[in-house]
Symmetry: C2
Subunit: 306 residues, 2 copies
């Protein structure tokens, strides 16, 4: 305890040949975030492929846990393979999958529909889980008529609105989602995640799902259920597949408030990489309350150290 009676905050360790070896030995599964860790936009980050090969060669399980809901698990597997990395669908836990699983475990009635503000990935996962999705990319080109006597119709059988990152956000979708949540009795409001920004392209960050969720949250005056990181909802599915104690898992991510917090909430070890949205200055700013166990510049530092 310090003079103010607060528990001393643990200081994260910079990854080194010594602690990298210890981390490797004590970890059975590495959980990787994707954007800012594996790739930026459509570009692999240097050395990722070789690092994943090394970890697999040491018998480590690899799992990919992404808040980006624009793709389904199948589409993510295709993206990995197109970048030359062999990853199977069931090693991927995306927030699009989490949204569909959330509805499944909560017995969402199959006769009700789901309105989607977001990408094709959410619609695909909903379909695989046996639900009927509406909206998504198809509504990206729709416009509204703000004229007297024009009534905007919405489907009264929509029982949930799922909101994720949507680069084709428009007023049509905002009104559709708002009407469902405000007017359909008991309609759920589910957010894939709340990330403020993300690497939609290699060179820049762009507004993330948090932006679209913030819009709907403000127009409906309701807070969503969040299924992506840092919520540990996805961990339940992960543990169904990998019967590994979470203390033997290490979450590797570039974001403090999603990846690192998710790992900590679940009882995993945590490694922050500085190849994405978090800089060393942000990590070490006195206002930052989330401290990973370890930090390093990028995942391929494992190659140097081991």
């Amino acid at each position: 305890m310090n003079a103010n009676g607060e528990a001393a905050k643990a200081v994260p360790e910079l990854l080194s040949p010594q602690n990298a070896r210890l981390l490797l030995d004590s970890t059975e599964a590495f959980l990787f975030d994707c954007d800012g860790v594996i790739w930026k936009g459509d570009k692999l980050i240097d050395g990722v492929s070789e690092t994943l090969d090394l970890l697999r060669s040491k018998g480590k399980k690899l799992v990919f846990v992404t808040n980006n809901s624009s793709k389904s698990r199948r589409q993510y597997a295709e993206k990995f393979n197109s970048l030359g990395i062999a990853v199977s669908e069931d090693e991927i836990f995306s927030s699009s999958f989490a949204a569909a699983m959330f509805m499944k475990v909560n017995d969402f009635p199959q006769e009700k529909k789901v309105y989607v503000i977001g990408g094709e990935g959410i619609l695909q996962e909903l379909q695989l889980a046996g639900f009927t999705g509406l909206g998504g990319p198809e509504d990206g080109k729709k416009t509204v008529e703000l004229k007297s006597n024009c009534f905007f119709e919405h489907d009264k059988s929509v029982g949930a609105v799922v909101v994720g990152i949507d680069p084709y956000i428009n007023y049509y979708k905002l009104q559709y989602g708002t009407l469902c949540i405000r007017e359909n009795p008991g309609c759920l409001f589910i957010a894939t995640n709340l990330d403020a920004v993300g690497h939609m392209t290699d060179l820049q960050e762009w507004p993330g799902a948090g932006c679209m969720v913030g819009a709907i949250s403000s127009s409906t005056e309701k807070k969503p259920m969040v299924v992506g990181k840092p919520s540990t909802f996805m961990m339940d599915f992960l543990l169904q597949k990998y019967h590994i104690n979470t203390s033997k898992m290490c979450m590797v991510g570039d974001r403090l408030d999603t990846d690192i917090l998710f790992g900590q909430n679940a009882g995993c070890k945590t490694l922050l990489v500085l190849s994405g949205v978090t800089t060393q200055a942000i990590l070490q700013d006195p206002s930052n309350k989330i401290q990973p166990d370890y930090y390093t510049s990028k995942v391929s530092d494992f190659l140097r150290f081991i």
Copy 2:
């Protein structure tokens, strides 16, 4: 004080021939909200024209205070006149005008630019106040390229982002506003208002400025300065023109959290009309903490009572 030690909440009085006469006699200026009070979309609410004529004939000052930033004061005067009501520009206090005045009283440098997410009204008011606006309706048809090596450029001389209701919201504007606030040092974030929904058409409510502000607030992780109701910022300008004690003013509106709160914050009497977003059930719900002095179904009830 009640048993819990709280001051007893005043119960609003239903307007009647007796208290309508008292209210009229004690009021020198009536401040009207527009959407849901004067009109819905482009349709006048019954009896408004005759009621305003009656109040003017009794020597009352009439002022129109609207959170809707889509039009400038001039455009609002044209809308009133097209609906057969003679109102002059300087009787109108819109949040588009308030945004421009906020920048003026805060000595916003004229060499800096202002990025607008919202309607033509904000751009017009900025121009009248001597500022250079960017964005607005012109950016409504712009699209983004989410590709490798595509860099989204923004103007580094933007020193403020003004966000209001925007039916042409898109990812281009969201990224532009987000980049200015995140990357241009000291860039202001100004919200015309935070209304969740509003009567964009006569038949329905639609997402309001709060929706667009919520989006930018979430992507930038910043809170805006709000210039519209319930902020009393506009009252200063109103008092410069009308040297009337606010206790001799009555704010007439359809929203508790903007109109009635604005009136109360400024020390005006308040009259809620049920012709807009607030129902009697909402008013009388135990969770409602904002109680007007009076309430009635619509402004033309004055005609019946006086």
